[in-house]
Each structure stands twice: as C-alpha cells, then as structure tokens.
C-alpha cells in the first residue's frame, strides 16, 4: 500500500497542503475522489521529500509547485509544444473535455494516442492572420464654426439676451 508519512512539517500543514491540491484539482474539474487521491499522493510524497531538504519551506507551497511541475511535464509528454505549456495545456484540457471524456488518463503514465492527438490538435485562434491596410480620413471641406456664437451660448448670455429681447418686444406693445 502506498503510504504517506512525512518526516518534516506538521500534520496540520500537510492537511492544508492536501486540501489545496484537492481544491486545485476540483478547479480543473477532476471530480472523481479516487482519481484525486491517486494524483495527490505522489505529489505530496515529492513535496515531502523537498520539504525534508528545506523544512523552512511551506508544505502547501511545495505541494502546489510540485503539482504544477507534474502538470507541465505531463502536457509536454502529451506532445504539446509551446513556450507557455501550462496555459496551452489547460486550454487543450478544457477544449477536449478531458475531465469528462478522459478522466482516468489525466496525469496518468499512459496517454492513449487518440487522446494525445486531440490535445495536440486543439487550436484557439482568436483572430486570423493580420492583413494590415490603411483607413485614413480624407480631408473634408468642413466649415469652421463661428467661435463667438458657441462661446456666447456657453456663457448662456446669448440665450438670455434673446429671451429678454423677445419678451421686451412683446410686452412693449
């Protein structure tokens, strides 16, 4: 039976690390509890080994870092060639519905050829190739405004004067 007895760190710290890994896997939509445990245990073991070398490090941080490395190397084994492996891998995992269609193969040693092909063929092209061209306004013979009129409007003076003139003209009669 595969066991986990870390030599350094407290039980509380390793429990916290376990919960964080579980949370992350759930965020990845890996819902099967057994599969979660299968993934978590070796990750925790690797984290514990690193913690034994430097007990000042936090088990949660080590465990999640270890999981990220496992994810990266698994995506690389699935032949996803990208500089941003973690990003490409996660997008490919989402697009292939891996959590529902291939739950038992995620982070497993063996990757079925068809699954690997599906992962590789995922393409998320947000925009086609650019074909730059220009679109420049042509000069239009737009008349310049009479700046004095808007300025008078802005101050409200012209309106007041106009209203006053109309009223005066009327009541004077």
């Amino acid at each position: 039976m595969n066991t986990f007895f870390p030599h350094t760190g407290t039980e509380e710290e390793w429990n916290a690390a376990y919960y964080r890994l579980e949370d992350y896997l759930r965020a990845l939509r890996v819902v099967n509890k057994v599969r979660q445990s299968q993934i978590i245990l070796p990750v925790l073991q690797a984290a514990a080994a690193r913690h034994a070398q430097d007990p000042t490090l936090n088990p949660t941080a080590l465990a999640v870092q270890e999981l990220f490395e496992v994810l990266d190397s698994w995506f690389a084994r699935a032949a996803l060639a990208s500089e941003t492996l973690a990003t490409t891998g996660r997008v490919a995992f989402l697009l292939t519905d891996s959590a529902e269609k291939w739950p038992e193969y995620f982070l497993a040693e063996e990757i079925p050829a068809e699954y690997a092909r599906e992962l590789r063929e995922c393409e998320t092209l947000a925009g086609p190739d650019l074909e730059m061209s220009s679109m420049v306004p042509r000069p239009l013979d737009i008349p310049a405004p009479d700046v004095s009129l808007p300025a008078a409007w802005k101050g409200g003076r012209l309106m007041l004067v106009s209203v006053a003139a109309v009223c005066f003209g009327f009541f004077k009669r």
Binding site: A16, R20, D23, Y24, R26, A27, L28, R29, V31, N58, T60, A61, V64, Q65, F68, T84, A86, T87, T88, G89, R90, V91, F93, L94, L95, E123, T124, L125, A126, G127, P128, L130, E131, M132, S133, S134, M135, V136, P137, R138, P139, L140, D141, I142, P143, A144, P145, V147, P150, A151, W153, K154, G156, M159, V166, C167, G169, F170, F171, R173
Partner: protein
Amino acid sequence: MNPVNLKLVELPAPGTMGHRRLVFGLYVAVLFALGLVPMTLQMAAQGWTLLRFLLWLLFIPLFAQIAYGFAVASVGYLLLRRGGDAWRISELAPAEGAPTGEPPAIAVVMPIYNEDVGQVFQRLRVMYDSLRETGEGDHFDFFILSDSTNPNFWIDEEKAWLDLCKQTQGFGRIFYRKRRVNLHNKSGNIADFCRRWGASYRYMVVLDADSLMTGPMLVRLGELMEAHPRTGIIQTNPTLARGKTLYQRIMQFGTQLCGPLFSAGSNYWQLGSSSYWGHNAIIRLHPFMKHCAIPELPANSPLGRRVLSHDSIEAALMQKAGYEVWFAYDLEGGYEECPPSVPETLARDRRWCFGNMQHLYFLFAGHIRPLSRFHLFNGIMAYAGSLLWLLFLLLSTIAALGEPGGSASGGFAFGGWGAGLLGYVLALLFLPKFLGLLLVLEQQRAEAWGGEFRLMLSVLAEMVFSVLMAPILMLFHAQFVVGAFLGTTVTWGAQKRGADRGSWLGALTLFGPRILAVLLWMGWILWLKPAFLIWLSLIFLGPLISVPLSLLLGSARWGARTRENGWFVVPQESEEAVELRQMEEMPVALSGYFRSQKFAPDYGLLKAILDPYVNAIHISMLRHHSGMSMRTRSYVDGLAHRILKEGPAGLNDREKRHLLWDPEAIAHLHRQLWTSPSAELAEWWQDALRHYNDVSAFGIRKLVTQG
C-alpha cells in the same frame, strides 16, 4: 451564392429616378402648402406682430416635418397595397459585369461594449447555426470586436467565445478581438477591424450588440452585393422583436404596423441614395476603407472633435465616392431590440442627439450629395424639431396670455382657418397609423396581430401612448439639443437591455424637474387666462403623469399581461421565427454563481486569476510582449504585488485593466495565489479562495447531479 437567382427588374434610369423625386417633391409641397397657406392667412387676418411672425417662422419647419412624414407613409401605403415597389434592390436585375465566379469572403462584425455576455453570444450562436444550415457558411467569418472596459464583461466574453467556438466547432470561423484603447468608440472599433483584416474580405456585415440576422438573410445580402457592384451599402430594415416590457411591446407594435409604410415610401424617392443606420447592413469594404474614414471636427468645435454618430456620415461619404446606398426594406430575417424603458430610451437619445448635432458640420461640408445632406438634416431635425416645438408652444402661451386682445387659444384664433388647420395637422399626424391598420386589414393579416378587434383597440391604445409620450420626449430632446451646444459631455455608454422598470425615486429624480416646469407653466396660465389651459392640456398630461407612466411602461409584468390578453400583438409573437425562439433557449450563465455581493465588483478579475481554465484562456488571448521596458515591467509587477497584498481594493479600475493586459503578471498571480498558504494571503484573497472553492464544488455537485 449565385446572382442568377435574382429577379430581373431593370435598374431605373437616372431620368426615371429624377421623375420620381419630382413627383414626390411636388406631393410634399402640396401637402405643406395646404397647411402653410391657411396659417399665413390666419396670421394676416389677425394682424402681423413680431410674436406672430416668430410663430409663423417656427410653424414652417415643424409642419414641413409633419407633411413629409405623411407623404412618405401614404406613398408607402399605396405601394404596399399593390404588392410593393418594383424598384427595390432585392428585385433588381444584376448589373452588367457583376462577378459570378468565386463566392466572396464576408465578415460579420459585432462591436460590443460592456454588453450582456450571455445574450450577445446566444445571438451569435443562433446566427452561426442558421448560416450553417444554408450551406453557405464557409464564406462567412464572424468577429466579436470588444471594447468592453469592465473586466467582468471582458473575462466573461473570452470564456463565452471559447465555449461558442467549442460548441459550434467554430474555431477559425468565429474570432474575438479585444481592443486595448477604445479610440473613436464604435466607428473606431470598426475602423480598427478594417485596418487589420478588412483587406481579406470583400464585404462586411455590421451588427449591433442586439442585432440578430438569419442565415438566409446574410446569404441574400451577399448575393445582392455581388449582383450590384456599384452598391456600397445595403441597409436592411430590422424588426423590433423580443419585447418584454410594456414599453417594448408598444414600440414594436407601433413600428411594425407603420414602419413598412415609411420604409416603402422612403425607398420610392430615395432609391440608391438611401442612408445607413450603423447596423444590420452590408458594406463593400474596399470603398468603405478608402473613402469612409470619418474626419475629426474642427479643433474649436463646441460639439467635440470625435464624431459619435458615424452611420449617416459613412453613407454620405460612400455616395460622395460614387457608390449607391440602398434600403432593402423588404428583406425579412433581421431583428433588433428596443430599450426596455423610457429612461433607457432617453439615455440612448441623449447620445444620438449629441451625435446628430455634430452632423451640422457635415451638412455644410463640400461635395456632399444633396440627398445625403437631406438625411443629415432629417437626423438633426429629429431632435432639433423638439426644441422648435417647445419654443412654438411657449410663444403661443405668451401670445395667449400677454397679447392685448389675444385669443384664449394662443397666437391665432381657432375660428375660421384655425380649426381646419388644427384638424389638418392632426390628420397628417395620425393618419399613417390608420393606413398601417388598413393595410393589415386589407391584406387579411389581422389574425397574426391578435385578431381584428384587438388590433383596432391596440392601434387606439398606441395612439394614446404616442400622445402621452410625445411631450415627454419633446422636453428631454429640447434639453439635449441645448445641452449639446452648451458643451455637455456625452460618452458612448453601454446600453441596459434587460427588463428593469426602475424605482419611484429614480423616476422622480429623472422626471421631477420637468414636472415642476410644467406645473409652473400651468400656474402661469391659470393665473392669467385659465381658459387657455384646455388647449395645452394634452401636452401637459404626459409630463404630469410621467413618473407612474414610466414605471408602468417599464414593467415586464404588464408587458406579459398585455400579451396574454392579446394587446399589441405582432406577427413575430404569434408566428415566432425559429431564430427568435432559439434566443429564448439561452444556456444558464455560469458566472452567475460568482456574483455574490462581496465579489461582484471584481468577479472577472477573481476568475482570471483563480480559475485555472479562465486564467489559461485569458493568457492565451493576450499578446506576449517580448520587448517590454524595464520601467513598464516594474510598474506591472508592482501592481501584481499590491493586488496580492491588498486585494482588488488596492487598485483602481485603470490599474486593474493594466494588470489584466499583462500575461506574465496574470500567470504569476495564478501560481502565487494557489501556492501561498492561506494565512499568508490578504483577507480578501482568503475569502475569495474559499468562495471560489465553494462555487466550484457547487458546480461539480450540480454536474454530478445532472450527470
């Protein structure tokens, strides 16, 4: 796509077009003269004064608008009664030399700005599926052009785009582009698309965020453009649909009943010199890019430099370049939605009004075609007319109250010519509604409108609605026009499209000042000449009851109730199109779970950083800057550090956007948050992580239950 499918009606010769315009112009002139002559005689009979002269001057543009409106509607009625105009773009034979080879590449572009993500992407899904069913989908690419400034919308849009592509196998056909700088609003967004990808497409179909076009209509527009190489723009006539509130239902009833009359009548005399509404239209890209970039207004313009309403200007520039602009009013399969309430309509009108006032510059610009100038003038008068009407009413009041011996009915007595003139004006205003009704009855389509009796009652009720709403809109529009020239700033904001009737307090704040103004106006009349009040009572009634009226109109419950009882029924409700029905089958928005009150303001940021998939999608869609300066790098790293230590409250909106634009920072934050022990995280992040875990667990439980 095959131009041979088109019917063979020859394009009218220029002389014929001129003949039509002459006939139409004479008709408008006669209608106008029949009002102006009695008005002039009446004034002369009472004796000319300065005040009467001013009233007479104001009467000219106001009555010209009414006469023109009636002329268009009545001509439209006659045309539709005999089965429609033969000279409409959809019926014309292909021009000589029209291409018949390779089908053209068409881009369907939808600019969006902080819009309801679920609705927008459902529309795209419906259109994409409908287009695929035609078998012509391969010639079309869809572009979602986002200018959303709110990170919550931005992040949701990215996820929705990925889901849409995944569900429709639309990768490589449906594209998403988020603009970093929202230069020149919607027209700048479209121009940005044109500069990047315009050269790859022959045509571009422009949509609004609430536009819906069926696949057959999109294909048909492509065919028509191919058949008519001198056509630069074809504007369709989208049907107002999917109304939920009482206001939306009345508006869609009114526009669907009378809209076809106005559309057919406009096409009769405008033909290839029509206008463009900015959406639900197809555009020939090459001339559009070459000739239709919009210049800025002069530096000392009181209306700002950047043009807000681009559509009519683009149509004018297209025609200036020698291309035609047609109104394909008879093509079916295009829809749009009406704002849900009066306040939302007013917010939209304020932007449109400001944009239309800017057109004053283009009205006098050189080398613009006369008909384009007419469209620009018409757009300006759509709002300026309200100011003139208000002035007319105010001067009439002054005449009635102050003029020695002035009659109780305003500046002119209603005896003699007066009563006849008033009847004539009212007839021109309301007859189009009866013509719309008559057409439905003649064509025996009343069943689709809820039956003859309900239809007639609905027409009467819609007229009451128009009478109440017109003065309310007049008061607001007049203020918008004056505000535009006094330098009031108007921004191109997102439109609320969901049903929300608003609160009493909100309505009172909005309408209160106008109610007060009307009460003062009434008090003035009551004090000096109470008998005059009866003449303005219908004008005052709408504004006085504007608060409850606005709440009633914005009510979705009353909208549903009227529908159940057969009021304001439109054919789309009784014989719903497949595409409209599909719009109601919207999948549940997942982001709803994240909108707990505490995290609602920043749920987009929360998801982009915490959720492994949303984080990955977001990063994969950003451009990776290899050459970022040390200073910028240090600034962004500082933002990342601050958001970790203080939570989103430590950053302002601009800083949050800067952070979200940096793929390295977002990747770093994702790793940093998940690897940090809870105790080391800021309190907001501790709660956010807990909340996120609860939400994802809930989502999974839901999945398991459903599975």
